[in-house]
Amino acid sequence: MPSASLLPVALPEDWENGGFALYIHWPFCQAKCPYCDFNSHVTANIDQARWQRAYLAEIDRVAGLTPGRVLRSVFFGGGTPSLMHPDLVAAIIERIRRSWPTSNSFEVTLEANPTSVEAGRFAGYRDAGVNRISMGIQALNDHDLKALGRLHSAAEALKAFETARSLFDRVSFDLIYARQDQSLSAWREELTRALSLAVDHLSLYQLTIEDGTAFGARAAAGKLRGLPDEDLAADLYEATQELCENAGFPAYEVSNHAKTGAQSLHNRVYWEYGDYAGIGPGAHGRLTLGGIRYATDTPHLPGAWLERAETQGSGELSSEALTSEDQFSEFLLMGLRLREGVVLARLDSLKPVEFEMNYNGLIESGHLEIEAGRLRTSALGRPVLNAVLREILGA
């Protein structure tokens, strides 16, 4: 990546519509879950001091490229960041706060597994400056938790959740649905219970079988049975929308539900196509420098990233200048996930000159709507967003 140039830039850049955020990736887990295709590794011995030096050096490097930007949020993702020592988290947040001015509603989220051991560190994270916890509870019964390869029981998860809500104002949790042999009525029951527990935010993901995961291999071998067909999957999604809406947790994105004012500011930076720096193994970023928007990537293997950060002066593996077509696609595929959709004027300004956009058919068929200068998916269009995107982008 080139260093920040001193061009006399006057016009606001597109990323400013979405804001600026920082993602920190902690790549380690106690065990690998069979559905997870995230960059996670299981290792017994982790030299937290060495990792700390690398993270801090990377923060300094990125801060040097983005001086003066107002930082909206930090997200500790993984892997399992709740395996990080609270002192390490504290050191990172402290360095971040010294490097950028932060917004009034500065959000610092840490992903946590709901085990008793990890709950013991929650207070430490709060003291370090974390102000939001996102817990991977995934299911509320032990049978399904086991099937999902989770190490915690439902009871343990709920206890950890209680600890979290006693320490943090903002607590979100994840559930996975459309699981093997899950009926519509069972999910309605489970979700109703989840909504009664929820604080201010829920992420509800349909189980997706990804290549390169244990579930993917099992599915390829024809051994993953009892997954819902498309119609049941659609019924499950519709039931989810209805129950959440009625409980005051409307969807603000395809899979994310929040009470008013409790949306994840960090994730909104992605969906609103702002800039975000990615630090840590396998972390991706989008950074606009000198008028060019770059997609940045880092080595996926923890050791490789660590070594690069220590010896090369940058943990970055590559930075690719995004073409106008790329930016347009990314803006749409991220932005249409949000309930409110994208601002038409911004869509127009990102549209490549020669590209002929035609979404009138989708408006006629009721998959898209235009309101108050925004283009958004309807309740009909959001569950088939991939098809909507293919249609608009001609794929």
Partner: protein
């Protein structure tokens, strides 16, 4: 030049796997025509596909020098005829070029349907026939029973059949002696004007077109100016040779002899099997009787899976056509499949062979549309039109009636499967002509519409008889029937590649099967899609494909943008493999699967 009474010309008639090629190899080996170290098993079947399928597609020939037990030296010319009915005309020409046949029957199996068709051709050509019972070394061999069957079914004397094991080398000399002593010598007049029959021709990448001939009268020499009597073309003979089986130059070929020549002929298409060759000057007056050009009876579309391969496909088809005059092609455009070719074949096997060669030798992935036969459309204005492609069917109001080709099918089957075979033939609109028994095997003869046979009949037959039935057919003519064009409509748009001619009474069944299959093959779209089978404006079967309800990525955060964008880019590229029908996209695999009907 060899004297007539020291020449014997013969062919071998046999069913697939009954040991024709192995016996030919043994005859070549025994007479040291080819050195042992050069022997490849089944020498005469040179194409990969022939060797793999154990069938002979192009006639091959070999000249064998044999010193008989009487001390005399004979020249034996073996013409290895194609073993399949698709090439019946080539077989009949080959048969006319020789005076006798060896009838090879597997003594563990008995007479099969294909054997019958070819042996009748030999009988038609007035051949002396020497029956040979092969595979006598196997424990299951039943020579007496099979000899009896030959007499019962074919009606020739099998009392002096030669008992052979080509594999074990038993009875080979007996066979050679029988060729010399039981088959007649050819006749001919050395002093008459040249009269030779064009038996076969092929393209050789070094020599150009090689023409195989049987000299009837007169003498042909290198340098002669010759004339093809059907085409009128004149050529100078560049080289003259006999096949041993590689080409060995020879100064002249006289009456009764079989050999090859080259004459700077550009394409095999310029040579017509069955044509008469004579000298340009002082030629013979009348050509040999019985010439007819080969006519394709089965048609299908061949399209490249990847549209970018179209030019390669055209080159490959042109090259193949150079070497196979019986195969026709013309460019075809299909809304479903893009640019391709409508190709005509002598039969189903011929179609398969050509398709295999295109895929294998030229490495092109192909989509083959449903095979169709040639219908005769009698128009109300009196015109007779040939319909090669159901997509070209004119409006019925202009058509008086339609005739379809019929065949006489002969099926030999162990009697325990007879009921299933009769049912299959009835279901395919067959009319039983004959049913006889030979031992525990039944021979059924059916009059069947060819269009019911090109459509997976052989596969069904194999499946209901566990592979024990043998089948052969010959075209018998055209007959009027209640035929209609069935169209397939997807979202109210007709899909030309899927339209087919069917009998009115079978249309509902076929239409239902097709729309049900398509419902599973076409991916859901954002709207619901009716899939219909229709005759004219009347819908006879209908299914509705529901609208897409769920297709969204569950998780999409900062690290997923690149991957998701690249996926969309990939889908953009993959769109080429989709075919657009109005608003509906149909993946190419759907066509391939839909056309592979299995019931």
């Amino acid at each position: 030049m060899t004297e007539l009474d020291h020449i014997r010309n013969f062919s071998i008639v046999a069913h697939i796997d009954h040991g024709k090629s192995t016996l030919a190899d043994r005859l070549i080996q025994e007479t040291k025509t080819v050195a042992d170290r050069d022997m490849k098993a089944q020498l005469l079947d040179s194409m990969d596909i022939e060797r793999e399928r154990g069938i002979t597609i192009k006639a091959n020939t070999v000249r064998i020098d044999y010193v008989a037990q009487n001390g005399e030296k004979y020249v034996l010319n073996l013409i290895d005829t194609p073993g399949h009915v698709d090439f019946a005309y080539e077989v009949s020409r080959s048969m006319r070029a020789v005076e006798g046949s060896l009838l090879v029957v597997d003594s563990t199996q008995g007479v099969e349907a294909q054997t019958l068709a070819n042996v009748y051709q030999a009988i038609d050509a007035d051949h002396e026939i020497v029956p040979i019972l092969n595979k006598i070394d196997l424990p299951a061999s039943e020579c007496d029973r099979v000899a009896e069957q030959i007499e019962d079914v074919i009606g020739i004397d099998a009392s002096n059949a030669i008992r052979v094991s080509a594999k074990a080398g038993i009875g080979i000399v007996d066979t050679l002696e029988a060729i010399v002593h039981r088959l007649p010598a050819p006749k001919g007049d050395r002093n008459a004007p040249l009269k030779a029959m064009l038996v076969d021709s092929w393209y050789d990448s070094y020599l150009g077109v090689v023409v195989m001939i049987r000299v009837m009268d007169g003498v042909i020499r290198k340098g002669d100016r010759i004339k093809m009597m059907q085409t009128g073309a004149v050529y100078g003979v560049d080289t003259l040779a006999v096949l041993k089986p590689q080409m060995v130059a020879i100064a002249e070929l006289g009456p009764g002899e079989i050999g090859v020549f080259t004459a700077s002929i550009k394409q095999v298409r310029d040579t017509k099997v069955g044509d008469t060759i004579t000298h340009e000057k002082k030629g013979c007056e009348k050509p040999l009787p019985g010439f007819k050009p080969s006519i394709p009876v089965v048609f299908c579309g061949l399209f490249p899976v990847d549209a970018n391969d179209f030019d390669d496909l055209r080159d490959a088809i042109e090259k193949l056509a150079l070497n196979d005059a019986s195969f026709t092609y013309e460019m075809e455009t299909s809304a479903a499949l893009g640019f391709g070719f409508r190709c005509g074949f002598l039969g189903l096997l011929h179609l398969e062979v050509i398709r295999d060669r295109l895929e294998r030798e030229y490495d092109i992935d192909l989509i083959t549309t449903a095979p169709s036969v040639v219908y005769h459309l009698y128009m109300k204005d009196g015109e007779l039109r040939e319909l090669h492609n159901p997509a070209d069917m004119p409006d019925l109001t202009y058509v008086s009636h339609i005739e379809e080709p019929r065949i006489k099918a002969t099926i030999l089957v162990p009697d325990e499967y007879l009921g299933d075979v009769l049912k299959l033939c009835q279901d395919r609109r067959g009319i039983q002509l004959d049913l006889t028994y030979a031992g525990s095997r039944a021979m059924v003869v059916y009059d069947l519409p060819l269009n019911e046979v090109v459509f997976d009949f052989y596969d069904r037959l194999k499946s209901v008889t566990k592979g024990y039935a043998s089948f052969d057919y010959q075209l018998t003519g055209y007959r009027e029937d209640n035929l209609v064009k069935m169209s397939i409509l997807v979202n109210d748009e007709p899909v030309d590649a899927l339209s087919m001619m069917v009998h009115r009474e079978r249309a509902e069944m076929r239409g239902r099967a097709m729309v049900e299959k398509l419902k599973d093959l076409i991916p859901r779209h954002m709207f619901k899609i009716p899939i219909q089978a229709a005759i004219g404006g009347k819908v006879i079967a209908r299914e509705t494909l529901s609208a897409l309800r769920k297709d969204v990525t569950a998780k999409c955060y900062g690290g997923d943008a690149t991957r998701k964008r690249k996926l969309l880019d990939k889908q953009k590229a993959g769109k080429k493999k989709m075919r657009q029908f109005g608003k509906v996209e149909i993946p190419q695999e759907a066509f391939i699967s839909a056309l592979k009907m299995d019931g």
